[in-house]
């Protein structure tokens, strides 16, 4: 199956080195064999996750009379919907592993990352056990659009638990890495609501990637920005992976999952459908989604 993924004759670029397909596969197999003997960083045991969604009903939300009406009639199903996003999954991740999470939209990939990060609670039956506090690197991390990019850098770093002195130290490198001041200087002083979606995403990624993590969870952060920024951010992720114990990547881009990950987990409707070598799983997923 892997033939179509890495051309048999051509060379592939892995971690900045040119390797033949055999060499690349051999290295991956070796890395995975080594990782299998390492200590676990994330253990997921029969995990179920629910979350709630409001709205979608005709009830006049916002008006006080509507609220009173709902309280009296208690039509729970109208206003409140419970989503059973993860329906009992188990796996173990060890140090040195890089795992891609793939699956259709709404299959539970992002929810799984949030549960590993401890941001969404697991139901009573099973659970997620982690080594330290995993860190979620998402492009959707909420920043304040009314404030300048510069203020958002400071706020974002403080939210991640950096000390104000560290923020001062790293501030310049964050702005430089994001590259938002390259084309038009002083972009970092303008409110973030004036940024293009690419600029905002780049700044968010640069803030989130400033810290080294034991367990790093990356949610769709690879698809942001132009080609130059993508190359820089993939390098940054490799850096983080080498230092971090374990990296999880959620992405719809199968090629970036193959570039970065050794192992893949395929989720569908809140359940694991396949878990194993990245080439095998992505190929099976491709065959399934095209068929």
């Amino acid at each position: 199956m892997a033939e179509q993924l890495i051309p048999a004759d051509g060379k592939v670029l892995v971690d900045g080195e040119e390797l033949t397909r055999e060499e690349a596969l051999e290295r991956r197999a070796k890395r995975r064999a080594e990782a299998a003997r390492n200590s676990p960083t994330v253990v997921v045991e029969n995990l179920h996750v629910h979350y709630r969604v409001y709205g979608g009903s005709g009830a006049t939300r916002g008006a006080a009379t509507g609220a009173l009406n709902r309280m009296i009639h208690r039509r729970k199903h109208d206003a409140l919907r419970d989503v059973h996003a993860i329906k009992g999954i188990s796996f173990v991740a060890r140090r040195g592993e890089s795992i891609g999470l793939i699956g259709s939209n709404g299959s539970g990939k992002s929810t799984l990352l949030r549960a590993i990060a401890g941001l969404l609670p697991a139901e009573k039956v099973g659970g997620v056990y982690t080594d330290g506090q995993p860190s979620l690197l998402g492009v959707n991390a909420a920043l304040m659009n009314d404030l300048s990019g510069e203020r958002n850098v400071v706020l974002g770093c403080l939210a991640m638990g950096l000390h104000p002195n560290e923020v001062k130290e790293k501030y310049q490198s964050i702005i430089e890495f994001s590259g938002i001041d390259e084309k038009s200087p002083n972009t970092s002083l303008r409110p973030m609501k004036t940024y293009s979606s690419g600029q905002a995403a780049r700044l968010r990624f640069s803030i989130a990637a400033v810290k080294l993590h034991d367990v790093l969870l990356i949610d769709e952060a690879l698809a942001t920005g132009d080609a130059g920024f993508q190359r820089r951010s993939e390098e940054r992720i490799r850096d983080l992976r080498r230092n971090a114990g374990t990296v999880f990547v959620v992405s719809h881009s199968l090629s970036s999952v193959r570039d970065i990950c050794d192992r893949a987990i395929w989720l569908e409707a809140g359940l694991i459908r396949m878990d194993g070598d990245v080439d095998e799983v992505t190929a099976a997923y491709e065959a399934w989604s095209n068929g």
Binding site: N46, V92, L119, Y129, D131, S135, N140, W288
Partner: protein, 333 residues
């Protein structure tokens, strides 16, 4: 693949198109032997997002203090950034509030009778009550308005209602400058009593933080809280003698002693009356009717300061523990 931890494909995994998704057991040999909790115990792994004990939680909040203050300041600045007059609204809003209430209660309804220095009396009442009111209103939306942030980053969730109360404290500081200016313009003497406003407001800050924490959890459980709260707060406002003296109002009616006790020890009224007492100098009067009116307007129950401390501690600590109990659930929405 080779001897790495590839999942043994069950019957459903053999074809390229499995009919139904199934939950695979973890293929890890150690997991199959020990189970998830067994492995967690062996390697010292912790439950993701587990809530620490209240003391450790307080320590985490202390670590997050830089974030809390920066977030509060940023929110406060962002609040008026969309309007032309910008930060000026921080001053205009309390002044306009007072103007409206002065027109309605002072002039049209005539509640100023029997009250010494009605303008200072009214301004103090409006600002002090507003501090509690806004802390609760914004506090009730602390979780639902910031769900994106909560689902993106780990930080102690109590940071949000606490930061919201700090924002209201920052706004109150501006309002207090206006209050002092009004008191000076009204010819109130500057005495060392003014200094007592600092401990009174500190206690009120603790009290309001506790309330903000309570309504934040209410709001996270039932989002309709923020729709219902204005009615509760309006009722509470009329019972707290913001625009008039409760004692003068109820003086005309016979009411049971227990109700009188509750009205006298109503926390916002106590905070308001204590602060009014520091600012307003009751003029000497020969008329016994006016003197009774003044005494009623400035009435404080015995041990008023002790009650302020009790309210601050009970509501502050109670609110903290109540919010802490729900710590793991706030991401669920």
């Amino acid at each position: 693949m080779s001897g790495t931890q590839t999942v043994a494909a069950g019957p459903q995994q053999q074809g390229a198109q499995p009919s139904e998704p199934v939950s695979l057991p973890a293929a890890d040999p150690e997991y199959q032997e020990l189970g998830g909790s067994g492995m967690a115990a062996k390697y010292g792994l912790a439950i993701a997002g587990a809530r620490p004990n209240p003391v450790a939680y307080a320590r985490r909040l202390w670590v997050a203090r830089h974030f809390i203050v920066a977030w509060a300041t940023a929110r406060n600045q962002a609040l008026y950034s969309g309007s032309r007059l910008g930060q000026l609204w921080q001053v205009l809003t309390p002044i306009l509030n007072v103007a409206v209430y002065y027109l309605i209660f002072g002039i049209l309804l005539g509640t100023r009778q029997g009250i010494p220095d009605f303008i200072v009396y009214l301004v103090a009442g409006v600002f002090i009550f507003n501090f509690m009111q806004t802390a609760m209103l914004y506090g009730s939306r602390a979780i639902s308005d910031n769900l994106n942030l909560i689902r993106a980053l780990y930080f102690p969730r109590a940071s949000l209602p606490i930061a919201i109360t700090i924002i209201q404290l920052q706004q109150l500081m501006i309002a207090m400058v206006i209050l002092f200016a009004v008191a000076l313009a009204q010819g109130e003497p500057v005495t060392w009593h003014w200094l007592l406003i600092v401990p009174a407001l500190s206690l009120q800050f603790v009290f309001n933080t506790g309330l903000a924490l309570v309504v934040a959890r209410f709001g996270a459980i039932l989002t309709d809280t923020s729709q219902l709260l204005p009615f509760v707060l309006r009722t509470w406002m009329y019972a707290s003698g913001v625009f008039y003296s409760i004692k003068i109002m109820v003086g005309k009616h016979r009411i049971p002693g227990a109700v009188t006790w509750v009205l006298d020890h109503n926390p916002p009224l106590l905070f308001i009356q204590v602060i009014r007492g520091q600012l307003i100098k009751v003029p000497a009067t020969g008329d016994p009717k006016t003197a009774t009116g003044y005494a009623n307007a400035m009435f404080l129950p015995p041990h008023a300061w002790l009650w302020l401390v009790i309210w601050a501690l009970v509501v502050g600590i109670g609110g903290y523990l109540y919010f802490w109990q729900g710590e793991e659930t706030y991401g669920r929405g």
